[in-house]
Amino acid sequence: MFKNYLKIAWRSLKTNRLFSIINILGLSVGLTTALVLFLFIMQEHSYDKMYANKNKIYRVLLNTTDEDKETWANSPSIIAPELKSKIPEISKAGRILKNNFGETAFVRVKKGVFAEEKLFWCDASIFEMFDIEIVKGTGGENLNNPNTVLLSESAASLYFGNENPIGQTLIVDNRNRFEVKGVFKDFPENSSLDFNVVTPFMMQNAAKNPTWDNASFETFVLFNSNTPNVANVESLIQNIVDANVKKEDQWYNFSLQALEDIHLYSASISDSYLTDIGDVKQIQNLSALAILILIIACINYTNLITARSQKRAMDVGVNKTLGASKGNLIKRFYIETGLITAIAMLLGVVLVTVVLPIFNNIAQKNINISALFTFEILGFLMLIWFVTTLISGSYPALYLSKFSPKEVLKPTRGKAGVTSYIRKGLVVVQFSASIVLIISVMIIHQQLKFIKNKDLGYNPENIIAISISGIRDGEANKALVNAFERLTNVSAVTRSQGYPGIGVSGRTIGKPNSNESLNIQTNRAEYNIGNVLQFNLLAGKLLPKIKHPKDTLVEVVVNKKVVDFLELTPEEAIGKRVDMSLGNNAFITGVVDNFNFESLHSPIGAYAFHNRRSEAKSFLLVRFQNEILSETISNFEAAFKSVATNSAFEYTFLDKNIERLYKKEQLTANVGLLFSIIAIFVACLGLFALAAFMAEQRNKEIGIRKVFGASVMRIISLLSVDFIKLILMSLVISFPLALYFMNNWLQDFAYRISISWSVFLIAGVLAICITFLTVAYQAIKAAISNPIKSLRTE
């Protein structure tokens, strides 16, 4: 009997080509989407699962106790040795520090100079905790000795080609010389940790003189047990802090984050050296979208099958008069759906191979096609096949199998009413979902555009930031500034610790005669910083041009947020001493207007430029005129190389860097756009088939109307108006939903657009146009057909 059902299903597929193609195409697009996203989700969940100690490793998080209540991944350097020695549950603790607090390193070897993004200073224990595999030479124990370095396989091959890297020398930032002791296997794609060059943390000042102040070191601990009592250990950490840090100096407390949570649950954690961070919210959103598209595809199937229920009624009736039971028929319909879903699934798998590179590109991922051929995916395929068959097949199976055999002898049309309502309801659901997507994508794009065009309080355009941390010589640095100032299309040059858009130093500023304090970002800079960044000076002056090396006075230029906190006007603030860990001799010399130095997700905080010799000036900021050309870049490089022969020319544009801050939003917008197109495509497929069916069903009516003089236009509008009505209904449902979702999304931005009614208007017009175009083909076809034909067929 099973064979018989399969045979009927297969032949019915072949006979009704249009419906079959639309059904299979719609379902396979839905399944492809679900599959690609499942691969993506699987990869996101696979992060850090490869480490044997995965259940025992935790990262120490620092929670600030000020009004901002931030969570940082960096802690003071003393935390690691303190926890290891005082908490018996912790067997190991290790710190990592990205070169020069997060900067690109310049690695010089015989072959030349390389800009290295992934140079980390690590404790030896990190290698033991993460069981990093050594493929050549010796391992992590080398990090207990100074001037040793471990390289990843790819770094070793980049720096030394086919030569044996062991024993070779490399020089970092023109300062430290290291001997290569070992080569470790490249970190897998799905590891949060990813090093290319590892140098000993013990060489850092912070290792020699660990303190409770400078929270710049990412710290990992290894527990003895797989199921540590985290809450208990956190309270022990608090006890250690209480014993060592005065209550009034405790601007933080500590918590622990499991290694397995780092990838997906760190989106709101700042100050981490790990850059490959996912977002569980994004995964949830994408999963919801995938399910939505799959449901839209399933709705198509259900709609098309029930739309053809008159033919089905006859089928069911005949089978029942021949002895088929309701159960037989339910089985038959499920088998038919199962067959179609299976074909769609196979097609979906083929489509995945085509779509995955595109998805990788849009989502900036690197999911390998081989991930498709695993047991998990096979299981997922079976599950999704089953679920899709169940969702799509249930209504036809349960509804159609109920048809009475009487229908065969005298077909009645009475029941069509109920199904047609359900069908219309499903179309409304499909289109509501699609319109919500259209509106969301439009609003996301508007917000991104707003971000791009917002006045940030300074001008990030036409500024290039060149990394100069490899140039140690003060004279060379001055020569470099001169060399750039001489270039024709350069209008201002300065050196600074950092620039808006990247983290600089985190300090706190205290209010005189009060316990209140405020987190502040401080940036060591030079007098020309104002000309380069072009912010608005409210009072006083910028940093002095010439600073004597023995001058202990620290000049500070603060933003308005700081004087507001100090309850002063900009003018009153000038000349006031400030308490912000810049020594006892720091005075405000200038006040600039507030500017957005972080992404627009955060409100503007306190910021200060100063000239204390506490931090290195790692960047040369160059403001140039006109648009940048490749020739300008070559001129810059030539000027750079004329002074810094031993450094790599590493640069970034400030405006491009700002765009990077919104990578996640851009990604959401791109993926959202992709999904909206897919959703609308699938929904339109269904609509197209439904329109074909409706035109066919109303054939006789159209014939009669034409005989009595209806024009072609009238017939077209007759057939289209029903669908347009459905779309209008979808608009009514989708508008408040979209408004709700997008208002929520916008809450994440401190600076955001207000949603305009025009978005809804455009989405509405767009939806109606798409519907009309989809339906019009069928409507026109029916309207211009010869009425005699349709009347004769009846």
Binding site: M1, N4, K7, I8, R11, S12, T15, M314, D315, G317, V318, N319, K320, T321, L322, G323, A324, S325, N328, S404, P405, K406, V408, L409, K410
Partner: protein
């Protein structure tokens, strides 16, 4: 074989109630060939639905082989129908996706006959209907007459005691129509009871007895044989 007594059937819509069968009574003996005639809307099809155990009467008695079946639920009726009743429709109602052989085989599948036995029985009946050479064709590849032969073959393959034919020649020309009537006569002579609804006086003359209906009631009964 069939005894109906004061059979009633109503159709209700929101506003009107239509009486389809109005205290209709008659009997059909085993081996009889009865034609039922009457204008459109006189209740013929309703009667056929009830006799074919597809529908339930609203009143009266319906005995099938001496067993009272009025009030049987759908499952019980289906069980009885499967083994005892074959149907022939005006519009053939063959399943487009199945070949001639597969269409005829269908009732045997539903009654659980083994594949080897099915093959034997289908071939026998196709042979008898002289359409063996068309066994692998699909319905749309056959003429109307041939389609009706397949429909008759499908109706008899289970050896039902009763065949209900609803305008079996309605969609056929006179030559093909006569051939189908001859087939029914052959079946009847072999012992199958046949009840046929028809508009055609010509076809009705093949039967033993003609029952004429009007407004859900029997008006006359002519015995021909």
């Amino acid at each position: 074989m069939i005894q109906i007594k004061e059979l009633e059937k109503y159709y209700k819509t929101e506003e009107v109630q239509t009486i389809a069968l109005n205290k209709l009574s008659f009997e059909v003996k085993e081996g009889e060939f009865v034609a039922i005639m009457g204008p459109s809307g006189c209740g013929k099809s309703t009667l056929l639905n009830i006799l074919g155990l597809l529908d339930d009467p609203d009143g009266g008695s319906f005995k099938f082989n001496g067993e009272e079946v009025a009030g049987y639920n759908e499952r019980k009726r289906a069980q009885l129908r499967k083994h005892n009743v074959g149907f022939v429709f005006q519009s053939f109602n063959l399943i487009d996706e199945l070949t001639v052989f597969e269409n005829v085989e269908l009732p045997l599948i539903y009654t659980g006959v083994k594949p080897a036995e099915r093959k034997k029985r289908v071939e026998e009946v196709l042979e008898k209907m002289q359409i063996m050479h068309r066994r692998n064709h699909f319905p749309q590849q056959l003429s109307g007459g041939q389609q009706q032969r397949v429909a008759v073959a499908r109706a008899v393959v289970n050896n039902p005691k009763l065949i209900l034919a609803d305008e079996p020649t309605g969609n056929l020309d006179s030559v093909n129509g006569n051939e189908v009537m001859d087939l029914l006569i052959d079946l009847n002579e072999a012992g199958t009871t046949i009840i046929m609804v028809t508009h055609s006086e010509h076809d009705a003359k093949y039967s033993h007895r003609i029952i004429r209906m009007l407004d859900g009631q029997k008006v006359t009964e002519n015995i021909l044989v």
